[in-house]
Symmetry: C4
Subunit: 374 residues, 4 copies
């Protein structure tokens, strides 16, 4: 039974835990880092790092996708981002990196340019030609319309909105996406999300998705909690989704759906905690925008930042001197001379797995957690 | 049973929850915003927005009342405010917006001018002539003396002090208001408050009030918690009042009393949470003082700020450049290029209702809440 | 049973609550302020306010004692303070109010001057000649030596250290004070403290004390929690002492010992909460040092600040412009134009008693408390 | 049973308490400081203070070791620190105290110089010749290789990494240290750590260690919680290790293993709380780096700060004017004119033991704790 409190007479609410409210406790024999594997495999695709780079235009471009793949991760291009809206997004990126006036207004204007299915198709092809695994994100609203442009090219399709359900009630004449029938017709793995709880996670698993994204990418600029009142305590959300995975394993007699934690993950320690809560991999946005190669030019934003009526995150100016932006390599696998835990993210992960005595990510999910007061 | 802790041997206290300690969790099928209604109906009066603009002279003037009505809300004029004390409050407003010396001293001096029943009567007439629903607020202490000036004109009467009870023990020769007999004699709906708990809410429902205001309008300048030691955790207070509403529905065989949440509501997310806790509408003061049209001129105060002996809130200088003050329209129904959640308040509400899968405010009261550590 | 948690295997600790973790909830009929009494009576002495001014040289001088009595409170002169060490403390006070170099070092030097029993005796006489109730504080260590100088003059004796017990284990040749036999030999009421828990409170009640001081006067400059690791959550400590009072009432068949709350009380709301937790009166130090008449000249310190080896509070510079320091009258009974709750302390108390519907301090101890997350 | 919460469906986590979440409550007869002993004895070695100076190059040099011994404590030289890497570490210390460019990069470069067994051997001899108890720290990884250089000289050996286990799983050809056989072969007492929980503490006790270090020295510059996600709530960790000590006492029929608390201890109050939780002594790093004699020159770092790939703490610049750095004597045994609790650390301890009524550290472990909300 989940922990509940009575917030008012007859009104119960569950207590949720954020990642920064939990910590790891090493309780087993320690292990050398060299005998630890951080590898991740989803469907036929293997990766050395349990990393999915978030479909943010500040992070994944056709160029950085190649570098992220080289370093061991999977990069997801936003199929409704600048590369699908502009033949050459350089000017748009320059404007965003140094916005005149209201930053959100600038974003809204730039993203008012419609998505071009032709450009989208070209970008997917460009990725394929680079030799990387091709992963593209579409929103649930536009998947029906835009997926034909990429289905012949992509290796993984990512269908992702801030909050998603297996069946959406559409208004008026709009055609709603039925995820179950849509996924059944595909022969490539699909990652869907974000979800925030057991029920929705289980429903999405039943659509046939290969992976479910937990969370909506909360980051330092997020205002979803003030604008919508929605907040996802990630430790709880991931653990709940892991419970859904166990239920689904049972009802299918063994179909394993991967969980990708997305939100409130800023350091190697956060990655470790997300995995221990039950994630198989993490989706990272803002932490990667720090990289010198990142197209965001020292800024971070995600699709919620440019919403035309109800923007739900700010254009974040990262707190780093341009000359001090690390390479993606330093950020992901080190070494680093920065002690913050925000660089050498997966070297840190390898080290904590060793200190806790686990040799694979799947085993590491059993590590002991402690709840702390700060 | 409510959650209680033992703060000392033999001394129990209940744990109360503020709105910022809870959050929403979408757990149902999502829904398009276009099939969501935010409408509210109290007695014979329908509104597109579940909004009552607070009787603060910084927010509701005869002019802004018209605009708030146009945008879908109900505006309440303070029957003991500047418009009832001064034939032309322009100079008083100018002094408050740029106070020389002690700001509270300035307020005390300006509000030392007595209320004129004639002026009050004229203002109510002016509102009626504008074609809006006429709502006027009187304090419990002055209701007996001042209500004759407005009863023939108002559509809704609001009897509101910081803390109110159904029966007040008066001192000396003062004549106490008996709410029950007073309301029984009226043929217009009355909103009363504020209340902070189940018992008082139930007692006020039994007076025949159409609506009960929960909370006393805590805002960024409030000092009631330090000056009086009284604090109202709004999530708990609203949920308790909702329990009183259920009890009262049962004992009356179906009389439904509306709950209006008032206090600690600063964003679209807070509005959503107040409704999910059980409110039918929210009363907003400080958030609307931001509007370019607001008479407060970039400042906010409520009746507790000008108390002659024990002032219990500060004159708040809003943190906004005069040139950036949004229109009431942007504030209430958007669109906006501000991602803070403090603009397009009801567009945000519509969106979160959709994400949670509810199509009316009454249904939305069933949404799931989570308690978070921050 | 008190609320306990297991902080480690086999190690339990109780959860204590600070005053700022609790708040009042009005749940009864409201009442006019004019029918509320804040009066307090200890032994044969009646006071209009439940106020004991703390024996801090920054607050109580022979002059301010007269003004505090006029306004309705009881002032306690520190029998080991500057007035008992210097024939004219003006220079010492001037040095403290504008210390050159290390402020604590300055205090240590000034208080290195020995206490003169003759001066102490003169000061007590001076107070008696002013027509006020004479109350003097001695430390437990010096009570045996110094009390002869004042016993013939004082109306109330206050024996007070930071932490006190009914029986002290002295070292070497020092003569320990046996409170029980000492108090039995006196025919004036004695206040003793500070205590922090049920057991010590009960033991001190059994010494025959008329009142027990709960807490050690924690204020903004206190470092007892870092220097000694001792912290007193005042809501819990007062409630526990009230439980001891009930036990002692039972075992004596009706002897009522007064509780004076001392520490973490900075506003009218804090006073109210201390009383509701079970105190009969409050001892105030730092809040009164704000007064224009206070000898501290805009600074506050108590006896722990000048300890020669282990000082346990800082010399506090109050955050107020000298020209804005209020009179003792404004501070205690108002009116005021300051909304912080830190002025008109007892006017605020009267108002919250009215809003909660209680007409005497003793009844007010039954008011409802709520624990809040902030 | 430890206190657990369900952070997600089917996923439990224990609640851990930091030292700053607990406080002491005096509940017994008070006692004069003069009848209190802070003495500590481990194996044949007696100390007036329950103090182990941490093996940080910022704190313990061959010179400060002598002064720390004179004042009553035990100093541990880092056997892999600057004195074992440089014939004259003066230049390295000067560079660290005023680093050009990235401070962690400077540390990494300076510590890239290999440890010289010959230098290490000389340093141990130098300590022995000074007449102090010789204590040297080696890391678990290098104990096999480096211990021969010091075993003939040291009085106590300290085998210490951030997280240690009784049996380490090494990779490839590296030879792992088997603590049990290693310690069995020695005839000097060994202190090992750090541990974070009951199981590892018990396992380390079974290696024959004379003492177990609890915690990894968390200090103001630590980033272990962000870099690795590991956090050790010290009150819980010490109490758990004390439970392991009870189990081990039982299974061995009376072998007592000492616990040394290391981490989050910055003041006399923290020392007291660590002892009350069950520690027999504390290991102090950062607090001693403040001393005028400290080799760190106003900076603090520990071995985790110079890690070549995953540094896990920052080079801390202490917030003190060079002219105001106290002597080790003022820091440890006072007197002081600083009220922060960070000076006269053990004079503070003596005083709180007296106020709580205990005359020895072992008895003081029974004092009452309270959990507070701040």
């Amino acid at each position: 039974m989940p922990e509940t409190v009575e917030i008012g007479l007859g009104r119960e609410a569950r207590r949720g835990y954020h990642l920064d409210e939990v910590a790891l406790v090493p309780t087993r024999r320690t292990r050398a880092s060299s005998v630890v594997s951080t590898g991740w495999q989803v469907d036929a695709h293997s990766f050395e790092l349990p990393l999915v780079a978030a479909p943010s235009d500040a992070v994944v471009s056709p160029d950085t996708a190649v570098e992220i793949e080289r370093l061991g991760g999977l990069a997801v291009l936003n199929g409704e981002g600048l590369w699908a809206r502009y033949a050459d997004p350089a000017e748009a990126l320059a404007t965003i990196s140094d916005p005149a006036g209201c930053p959100t207004g600038v974003l809204q204007q730039i993203y008012a340019q419609p998505v071009s299915p032709e450009l989208l198709s070209q970008r997917a092809g460009q990725l394929r030609d680079s030799g990387v695994r091709v992963a593209v994100r579409l929103s649930p609203q536009n998947t029906v319309a835009l997926s034909p442009a990429v289905l012949s090219t992509v290796d993984l399709l990512v269908i992702q909105g801030t909050v998603i359900s297996a069946e959406h009630v559409a208004g008026g004449s709009a055609e709603a996406l039925n995820l179950k029938t849509f996924i059944a017709d595909l022969d490539i793995p699909v990652l869907v999300g974000g979800v925030t709880n057991y029920q929705t996670a289980l429903h999405l698993m039943r659509t046939g998705a290969a992976g479910v994204i937990v969370g909506y990418g909360a980051h330092s600029g997020s205002t979803t909690h003030t604008a919508l009142g929605i907040d996802v305590p990630m430790a709880t959300a991931i653990a709940d989704a892991a419970a859904a995975r166990r239920s689904y394993l049972d009802e299918t007699g063994g179909r394993y759906v991967h969980l990708i934690g997305y939100g409130d993950i800023t350091s190697g320690g956060d990655i470790a905690k997300a995995l221990v809560c039950g994630a198989d991999a993490v989706m990272l946005g803002e932490p990667l925008a720090l990289a010198a190669e990142a197209p965001g030019g020292g800024r971070y934003w995600d699709p919620t930042a440019s919403h035309p009526r109800v923007p739900r995150s700010a254009l974040v100016e990262l707190d780093v001197d341009p000359a001090d932006r690390p390479s993606l390599e330093e950020l992901l696998i080190g070494p680093t001379a920065d002690p913050s835990g925000e660089r050498n993210l997966f070297g840190s992960l390898r080290r904590v797995m060793a200190k806790c005595g686990y040799s694979s990510v799947k085993e590491f999910q059993k590590a002991e957690l402690i709840v702390t007061g700060r």
